[in-house]
C-alpha cells in the first residue's frame, strides 16, 4: 500500500475538510503524482491562496506558503523568479483563482511562467459558506444567489488556454487515477500548466442544490465527466451537458523565467 504518511504533516491532522469533501482525494492524488514523478521534495514549493482548497499545503510536508485570498499566483511568481530552480505548485479554488485573483491567473498564463496550478473547482465559495462563484452554474443556488444564479460562468480551462497556458488538463475526483495522471503531467511540464479539478462540496454547494449527499455529487461527476478518448466518439448531441476531461492543450512555448535569463545574459554579454 502507498505510504502517504511520508508526505504529510501528521501533526496538522485531522484536516479541516468536511466528510464527503473531494479535497482530500485531490491531496492523495497529488501525493501519488509527486512520488511518481520522482521530484525532489526539498526543491518543491507549494503556494496557496485562501479557501478550503487552499488549506492543502498545510498537510503536505514540503516547503509551503499559505497566502492571501486570490494572490497565490503572484506570490508564486515571486518565488519562481527568486529561484527558478524550484518546482512551484499553486493550489487554489475557483473563487480564489478566477474571482478575486482572476487577473493574476490570466496574466501568469499569458507569460507562460513555469508554475503548476491545481485549481479545485467546486462551483462555490466553500470556506465562507456557499456564495456564488464564477463557476456556479446558471440556475443553481448559492447563499448569494438564493433564487438561482443568473450569471454565465467561466470555462476555467478554456480561459487558461485562451490566455496562453502551455498545458491545460481537466480532471475530477471521481476518476482519481486520471486526476493523479494529469497532475503528474502538469508537474513535469515546463511552462504554465493548469489542472482544473472538479471536486464536490456537499456542504456549501450540494446541500443547496438537492445533492446533499456526497454520493450524489460523486454520481454527478460520474455521469457528466467524459474522458478525452470517449469524448471523441460522442456525437455533437451526446456531448450536450457533458464535460470533457483529460489533456486539453499541450504545447511547447518559451518559458518566462528562461526567457528572462536569456535576455539578461545577452545584455550582460555586450
Amino acid at each position: 500500500m502507498f505510504n502517504y504518511l511520508e508526505y504529510v504533516r501528521e501533526e496538522n491532522f485531522p484536516h479541516i475538510w468536511c466528510s464527503g469533501c473531494g479535497d482530500g482525494i485531490v491531496l492523495k492524488a497529488l501525493i501519488r503524482a509527486m512520488e511518481a514523478t520522482g521530484m525532489s521534495r526539498d526543491e518543491a514549493v507549494m503556494v496557496s491562496g485562501i479557501g478550503c482548497s487552499s488549506r492543502t499545503p498545510g498537510y503536505v510536508d514540503i516547503n509551503t506558503l499559505h497566502t492571501t485570498h486570490g494572490r497565490a499566483i503572484p506570490f508564486a511568481t515571486g518565488v519562481k523568479h527568486a529561484n527558478p530552480g524550484l518546482k512551484v505548485i499553486v493550489v487554489t479554488g475557483d473563487g480564489d483563482a478566477t474571482a478575486i485573483g482572476g487577473n493574476h491567473f490570466i496574466h501568469a498564463a499569458r507569460r507562460n511562467i513555469d508554475l503548476t496550478v491545481l485549481l479545485y473547482n467546486n462551483y462555490i465559495y466553500g470556506m465562507t459558506g456557499g456564495q456564488c462563484s464564477p463557476t456556479t452554474p446558471i440556475g443553481y443556488k448559492a447563499s448569494t444567489a438564493q433564487f438561482g444564479n443568473i450569471e454565465p460562468t467561466f470555462n476555467i480551462s478554456g480561459l487558461a488556454i485562451a490566455a496562453g497556458a502551455s498545458f491545460v488538463a481537466r480532471a475530477d475526483v471521481y476518476n482519481a487515477k486520471q486526476c493523479e495522471k494529469m497532475i503528474g503531467l502538469a508537474l513535469e511540464k515546463k511552462g504554465f500548466s493548469l489542472v482544473e479539478i472538479l471536486t464536490p462540496c456537499p456542504t456549501a454547494f450540494g446541500r443547496r442544490n438537492k445533492m446533499a449527499s456526497p454520493v450524489k455529487l460523486m454520481e454527478w461527476l460520474r455521469d457528466h465527466v467524459v474522458s478525452g478518448a470517449k469524448w471523441e466518439k460522442l456525437s455533437e448531441e451526446d456531448r450536450e451537458g457533458k464535460i470533457r476531461s483529460g489533456i486539453l492543450i499541450d504545447v511547447d512555448k518559451p518559458e518566462y523565467t528562461e526567457e528572462y535569463k536569456k535576455l539578461t545574459e545577452k545584455l550582460r554579454a555586450v
Partner: protein
C-alpha cells in the same frame, strides 16, 4: 417589534430600514451574514435594492462609488483583509465626497491567519477620511446605520460602522427592529445635489492641479470638523423618533472618578460591570466609551477626562513603533491642557478574550502605578 437577532443581522435590518438602493459586497468571515440576509431581502422584496455580486472587495467599493455617484444610497460590508483590499477605493469615496456607508466587522489581520477580533483593520484606515463609529450592542449597531446615512448625506462624507467579530457579530441579543416607515420620519430620501445624470451632465474624477487640490482637502477636513455637531444633532433627532440615543462618547460613573478607563466596542460593557464591582468596594473609578472615533471628539473627551487623576486606555489594536491607537488619540486630546498621567494597555489582540478579570488587572495596575514609566503596557502576553 422586538426580536432576538445576531449582531450581523442587526446591520442588515438597519440597512433595510434605511431603504438603501444598491448593495455590493464580497463575502468574508465574520461579515458574510450581513450581506447574505440582505441578498435574501433583495430577493423577497423586503428591500427595494439591487444586490451586486462582485469579484473582490476592491470591486465592491468601486461599485458603491459608481452607484453613489449615480445618486443612489449605497452600502457594503466587509472585514479585515477585505477592508484592506478596499483601501484605494476608500480614499476615492472620500475625495469624491460620496456618502457611502460601510459596516466593518473588526477582525485581526494576517499573517498568521485569524478570524477573531481586533481593531487593526479599521484603525489602519484612520487617515483616509471616513467617519468611524464603534458599536457596542446589536441595538446600537442597527440604529447606527440610519444615523450613518443621515450624517453621511448631510456632510457628503462616507461613514464606517464598526463592530467586533464574534463578540458582537455572532452574538444574539434582543433588538427593537426599526421599520422603513419609522425611519422615513427620521431619514429623508437621498437627493444629491450633483449626480451622474444625462439631463444635467457633470464630469467626475478630474485632474486637480496644485491650484485646487489643497482647497478640496481643506473642505474634507472642514466637513469632518462640522461632523461633530452634525452627529450630535442627528443622534438627538433619532432619539426623538425612536427614544434611543448614543452620543459621541459614553461616560459611565465618571463624575467623581479618580481613575477613568477608556474603552471602545464590546469591551465597554464588560468594563462597566467591573466599574460597578469596584465602586461597590469604594473605589472611585469610571469608564469612558469612545463611540465616534472620526471625527475625534476632542472637546467632549477633554471635558470628561480632565476631571480625573489618572486615565487608562484599553486598546485592542497596536500601531507598531508607537502604541495603542486610542491611547495616542486620548493623549493628543489632553495634550497641553492637563498633566494627568495617561497609561496605555494593549489587550485582546487576535480575539483573545478581555474578561472582567483582565479589565480588573488593568484597573488595579493603573491605580497602583503612581509614575507609570512605560506608555505601552501589554496585558497577558505569555512569556
Amino acid at each position: 417589534m422586538k426580536k432576538v437577532i445576531m449582531g450581523n443581522h442587526s446591520v442588515s435590518h438597519g440597512v433595510m430600514a434605511s431603504e438603501v438602493k444598491v448593495i455590493s459586497a464580497y463575502p468574508i468571515t465574520p461579515q458574510t451574514h450581513i450581506v447574505e440576509l440582505l441578498s435574501e431581502m433583495c430577493g423577497n422584496g423586503d428591500i427595494d435594492a439591487k444586490f451586486i455580486k462582485v469579484e473582490s472587495e476592491h470591486s465592491a467599493m468601486a461599485a458603491c462609488v459608481g452607484a453613489s455617484a449615480a445618486g443612489s444610497r449605497a452600502f457594503t460590508a466587509t472585514s479585515s483583509q477585505g477592508l484592506l483590499l478596499m483601501h484605494e477605493m476608500l480614499h476615492w469615496a472620500v475625495g469624491a465626497r460620496l456618502p457611502i456607508v460601510l459596516a466593518n466587522v473588526n477582525r485581526a489581520v494576517g499573517p498568521p491567519w485569524s478570524i477573531w477580533t481586533d481593531q487593526n483593520d479599521s484603525l489602519s484606515q484612520r487617515d483616509v477620511g471616513w467617519l468611524q463609529i464603534y458599536c457596542e450592542s446589536n441595538q446600537e449597531t442597527q440604529d447606527t446605520i440610519p444615523q450613518a446615512f443621515k450624517i453621511a448625506e448631510e456632510l457628503q462624507m462616507p461613514v464606517m460602522i464598526v463592530l467586533d467579530a464574534f463578540f458582537l457579530s455572532h452574538t444574539y441579543e434582543i433588538v427593537d427592529i426599526i421599520t422603513k416607515e419609522e425611519v422615513r420620519k427620521f431619514l429623508p430620501e437621498y437627493k444629491p445635489e450633483i449626480k451622474i445624470d444625462t439631463k444635467d451632465p457633470h464630469s467626475f474624477g478630474n485632474l486637480g492641479g496644485p491650484d485646487v487640490y489643497m482647497e478640496l482637502r481643506y473642505m474634507i477636513q472642514e466637513a469632518m470638523e462640522k461632523g461633530i455637531d452634525v452627529i450630535k444633532r442627528v443622534d438627538k433627532e433619532f432619539e426623538e423618533v425612536f427614544g434611543r440615543g448614543y452620543g459621541l462618547i459614553q461616560p459611565y460613573r465618571c463624575d467623581d472618578a479618580e481613575t477613568i478607563l477608556v474603552t471602545s466596542g464590546t469591551v465597554s460593557s464588560t468594563t462597566r460591570a467591573v466599574i460597578d464591582q469596584m465602586r461597590d468596594e469604594g473605589i472611585k473609578i469610571g469608564s469612558l466609551k469612545i463611540r465616534v472615533f472620526r471625527p475625534f471628539p476632542f472637546e467632549e473627551v477633554f471635558e470628561v477626562l480632565s476631571k480625573a487623576k489618572k486615565v487608562a486606555v484599553i486598546d485592542r489594536n497596536i500601531s507598531f513603533g508607537n502604541g495603542g491607537i486610542f491611547y495616542q488619540e486620548i493623549k493628543s486630546a489632553l495634550y497641553g491642557r492637563t498633566d494627568i498621567p495617561i497609561v496605555g494597555y494593549i489587550a485582546g489582540l487576535g480575539g483573545r478574550d478581555i474578561t472582567p478579570s483582565v479589565i480588573r488587572e488593568i484597573a488595579d495596575k493603573a491605580i497602583g502605578d503612581d509614575k507609570p514609566e512605560r506608555y505601552i503596557n501589554w496585558i497577558g502576553v505569555k512569556k
